[in-house]
């Protein structure tokens, strides 16, 4: 059975930006392990020479011309925003890249 520990789930939750509660972490790990066990069998049958399918229909080269199209007004764009300031989306302080 593929191992997926509570710590693994906590790590994944942090990658996915979900602040799971302890209770959720307790529940999720065994549930996920069971699911993973049942899905793990795909690797049995997925031979190296089988090409993957990422698109159900074999389309390619779909483009649009480099032209302007009407978009949203700033009011429309900002309408759903939790907070607006200076016609921009106001968000809490970002931790960012600099130390």
């Amino acid at each position: 059975m593929p191992e997926i520990s509570r710590d693994d789930v906590a790590h994944l939750a942090s990658l996915a930006r979900i602040d799971l509660t302890d209770e959720e972490l307790d529940h999720l790990a065994p549930q996920l392990a069971v699911i993973l066990e049942s899905v793990a069998k795909v690797s049995e049958v997925a031979a190296a020479d089988v090409p993957p399918t990422s698109h159900a229909v074999p389309l390619s080269n779909v483009y649009r011309a480099d032209e302007l199209r009407p978009g949203l007004t700033p009011e429309e764009a900002l309408a759903g925003a939790p907070e607006v300031e200076q016609q921009r989306f106001a968000v809490p302080r970002i931790l960012g890249e600099e130390a």
Partner: protein, 503 residues
Amino acid sequence: MADLIKRTAAELADLLAAGEVSSVEVTQAHLDRIAAVDGAVHAFLEVDVEGALRTAADVDARRAAGDTLPPLAGVPIAVKDVFVTKGIVTTCGSKILEGWVPPYDSTVVHRLRAAGLPILGKTNMDEFAMGSSTEHSAYGPTHNPWDLDRIPGGSGGGSSAAVAAYEAPLAVGTDTGGSIRQPGAVTGTVGVKPTYGGVSRYGMIALASSLDQAGPVTRTVLDAALLHETIAGHDPRDSTSIDAPVPPVVEAVRNADLSGLRVGVVRELGGEGYQPGVEARFDDALKLITSAGAEIVEVSCPHFTYGLATYYLILPGEASSNLARFDAMRYGLRIFPDGVAEPTAEQVMSATREAGFGQEVKRRIILGTYALSSGYWDAYYGSAQKVRTLIRRDFDTAFEQVDVLVSPTAPTTAFPIGAKIDDPLAMYLNDIATIPASLAGMPGLSLPSGLADEDGLPAGIQVLAPAMADDRLYRVAAALEAILVEQWGGPLLAQAPELEVAR
């Protein structure tokens, strides 16, 4: 007319065209029905009385002025809350979008508006379309009109229940692994998943981009065909939409015929795990198909047994990425973490997603994040994509021997609300027969096959056709429907218990 709500969309269209009834009357009749029964059914999350009547009045005026109108003009419709509707709250069944009013229309809704269909409102669904019972809606479950203590299927339980309860003659839903077909089966209605790419996904809140497809939810195959032609077709805003004429599905219904057809029964889609009553109605249908002049051939699609596993790796992977945008920065819910004086954006994101997403959504996001992780990619997501190819090849091989494939749509009839909610895997099994076609991008249709003996609840039979051959689905389904309806002496839905009308 009191029985306006019992009419099919095709019949209503005829009445409207003949001037025997107005769209306002038809629309009002349905709004009244919603008011009367939706307290119990809870199919709708949002009812747009004003908007619907305004459209209806507008269509009536245009008709009176002698304009040529599209076939379904004036026939009201319900829209699954997964479609973005400009000016109408769109939640996708989630708390994280509570109260969100989109600034744009999805292409499907745009086409409905252009075709003059009054939009009654938005229907309930499993949160972000993840589920097969509508119990994962953040706004409470929808109840099956056949038995209000039972699930209506999912994720599009609201659409199917609305149609089954005569709250709308038509609905449009989405199907990723069975979310139109399976609710259709357990509510005794018709549901279609077109060929992938047949209907635009622009404005359809994405679950699994390579699997999602919009389709008709109706009470008859003809109604589905009419709606199919209204919403389908190429959309330059959707790179994955097919740039080819819509298959002539209405014509196929009118030329419904089973004679000379080779109909394949998939060995792997039946047997263990399938309720005896469901299988019994399926076997009965096969007999009818044979008597109508078709040939039944047993085929084997061995990789279908990996369908569920493949699906539950690809879907969560794509979904975990599609749902990343819900982060409290630009729209939707914003929650601040408890006891943190100056939270960072990252903390607000995490607190919001924790509060705004339900359990099933969280489960699949974590699963998807895992499946895509470096170190696990090859074993999980990468392998699943390969098995998808194998499943597609199984279909291709089968379609060399037969014209269509059939199976029971879902393994069971409607189960009680709460019965499977704590067992995710058991819940996932609801889609075991509908998933393979989704993975391969092939079109599928579910129509009622009858009532199961054990519980007197509806079962469905699923028809599958090769990609782009949606018309073949309709041709077979319409022919079978005609035979079945004749056998029942009327539509199966007529056998559903009358819903108590609220005073």
